[in-house]
């Protein structure tokens, strides 16, 4: 076992989300502010209690969107003793560790996403999106101008991995297809999801080829949205009216692959395996204890990798595992016969939020007030978010 001094000593006390839509006609900051205000109201705290902010962005001083400087100013928060920008799964972990270290007591994490101009033709004809892209600080364009550097921070190697996975493990696309169907089935029950209809395996097979062998239904749905969570100490959380959702264990993960993704390590050496391994080394809860599992689905291949890295099956066996775990009536997965997967629909159905909506859904389910969508008796949730190559995070949440 690894050290885990933060076990159950931090809690999520607030979650806030904006509506999700393909064209909300809102700025990133506007989305971030709405999510933040919802989260503050949800926690039932005075906003001046917030003394740490993790804003949105891949670079420390990301500007033009919902970075920490803009957020603090726009929210009128007088004093912070910790700030940072972050994204994907790691933003949540950075914020939690800031509370645990004592650099702040109550931290607000805001993550915003816009449907980018490189994601659709209609987005690329929107002057607001064009201008935002012109001044955005994504930090991912250094590979431009040389074909050999095309996979610097690129999604294309994930498509390459689908083919490599199928050959190395002598399997087909079943695992990816069933994950896509699962997420769309859950999305169809989620009134906030942008994709409101379930899909069949035939729909999956027939979906447009984007980066062969990756198809349209393997990819998350670009939307405009904002998500916020508030984390504080377990001690403070117990004084509030909301039910504390405890952070039981967390891990990040990094490998030596570097920034040229064609140098990808083996399937079981990617960063998800390191993050999930780090999580299990720190968690008292075991895989059989999980009520809900949230494998990030920026691409379906991410979700398959996180599921295998978490240990639900052996590497390469997700297709068989998902087939055995399939609830035909509801067209969803029940891993080990019980653990539900991505109950809000994830990026493939609810919309692309870099995994931020996985945290929000986990917290809401564990609080137990999700009405007709409530997973009965849900007490534990494991979230695995990130990339094969960077920013993976594994987080175990639980309630008493």
């Amino acid at each position: 076992m690894a050290r885990n001094p933060l076990k159950d000593r931090l809690a999520v006390i607030g979650v806030g989300s904006t509506p999700y839509g393909r064209d909300l006609r809102r700025s990133e900051l506007s989305l971030g502010l709405e999510a933040a205000v919802h989260a503050i109201e949800d926690a039932g705290i005075d906003r001046q209690e917030i003394d740490g902010i993790c804003g949105s962005g891949m670079t420390p001083l990301a500007m033009g969107g919902a970075g920490f400087l803009s957020l603090q100013g726009a929210l009128g928060i007088e004093r912070t003793t910790w700030v940072k920008n972050g994204w994907l799964g790691s933003a949540f972990v950075y914020a939690a560790e800031a509370v645990f270290s004592g650099l702040c007591d109550t931290v607000l994490v805001v993550q915003t996403y816009l449907r980018d101009i490189n994601m659709s033709r209609s987005a690329a004809s929107d002057p607001f999106r064009l201008r935002a892209a012109q001044f955005s600080d994504v930090g991912g364009d250094v590979g431009m101008g040389d074909f050999a550097r095309r996979w610097l921070h690129s999604g294309e190697p994930y498509a390459g991995w689908i083919r490599r996975y199928m050959k190395d493990y002598a399997t087909d696309k079943k695992a990816f297809a069933l994950m896509a169907v699962n997420n769309r089935s859950h999305g169809a029950r989620n009134p906030d999801a942008v994709m409101k209809t379930p899909i069949t395996l035939d729909d999956y097979d027939n979906s447009r080829m984007i980066w062969d062998p990756m198809q349209m239904l393997d990819m998350d749905v670009p939307v405009d949205c904002g998500e916020a969570v508030i984390i504080t100490t377990a001690e403070r959380a117990r004084d509030l009216d909301v039910k504390p959702v405890y952070i039981h264990a967390m891990s990040l993960g990094g490998s030596r692959v570097g920034e040229f993704y064609e140098n990808t390590l083996g399937w079981t050496e990617n960063a998800f395996w390191i993050a999930l391994g780090g999580l299990w080394d720190r968690s008292d809860l075991k895989i059989g204890d999980l009520d809900i599992f949230f494998p990030y689905d920026g691409y379906s291949v991410d979700a398959v990798a996180v599921t295998e890295a978490a240990g639900f099956c052996k590497p390469g066996e997700a297709g068989d595992c998902f087939t055995d775990s399939w609830d035909r009536k509801n067209q969803i997965l029940r891993l080990n016969g019980r653990t539900l997967v991505t109950t809000h629909g994830g990026g493939l159905a609810m919309g692309r939020a870099g995994g931020a909506n996985f945290y929000a859904e986990a917290v809401r389910q564990l609080r137990g007030n999700e009405g007709h969508r409530q997973v009965p008796g849900a007490k534990t949730a494991l979230i695995g978010i990130g990339s094969f190559f960077h920013d993976p995070a594994a987080v175990m949440l639980r309630v008493d």
Binding site: P157, G160, E262
Partner: protein, 155 residues
């Protein structure tokens, strides 16, 4: 300037106006301009260091030198791009993007195109050889089926 004289830094920057050239990778682009595919190699332990970094990650030696590779390799992974990032660009046929594992070292891969091969005949682990295509400044590296080169040589 004689044909054999190495290009000046200024000339390399001018030839690759859109590439993020720095002091750690300029030798690679200087070699490309001269029609050579050169990868940094550790002079102490022999490890190939890619991408272009100034220090060997195996033995922490700074004695790394751009060294021409044989150009032989295999297709480690590839994708066929049916839709480009720029939604306005229409492509007539899919663009092949392939990670070629070079024979010099396990895991040493160079991202490139595959040419002289019908798309449906590209397979994982297929042996390929370096060739050059008339694109970029003045030519760009690409790979073709190793058998195609063999046939040409025999012909």
């Amino acid at each position: 300037m004689s044909a054999h004289e190495p290009l000046s830094d200024h000339d390399v920057f001018a030839l690759f106006p859109n590439v993020m050239i720095d002091r750690d990778n300029i030798a690679h682009y200087r070699a490309l301009a001269a029609g050579h595919l050169a990868i940094n190699r550790c002079g102490d332990c022999g490890y190939w260091v890619y991408p272009h970094r100034p220090m060997c990650p195996e033995c922490l030696s700074w004695n790394v030198t751009p060294t021409e590779v044989s150009g032989q390799g295999r297709v480690f992974m590839f994708t066929l791009i049916h839709q480009l990032r720029d939604p306005h660009s229409n492509i007539m046929e899919p663009v092949v993007v392939a990670a070629i594992e070079l024979v010099e070292q396990a895991g040493l891969r160079y991202l490139s195109r595959i040419v002289n091969c019908p798309l449906e005949e590209i397979t994982l682990d297929m042996p390929v050889s370096l060739t050059w295509i008339p694109e970029g400044a003045p030519r760009s590296p690409a790979f073709e089926p190793a058998s195609a080169q063999g046939l040409e040589a025999r012909g």
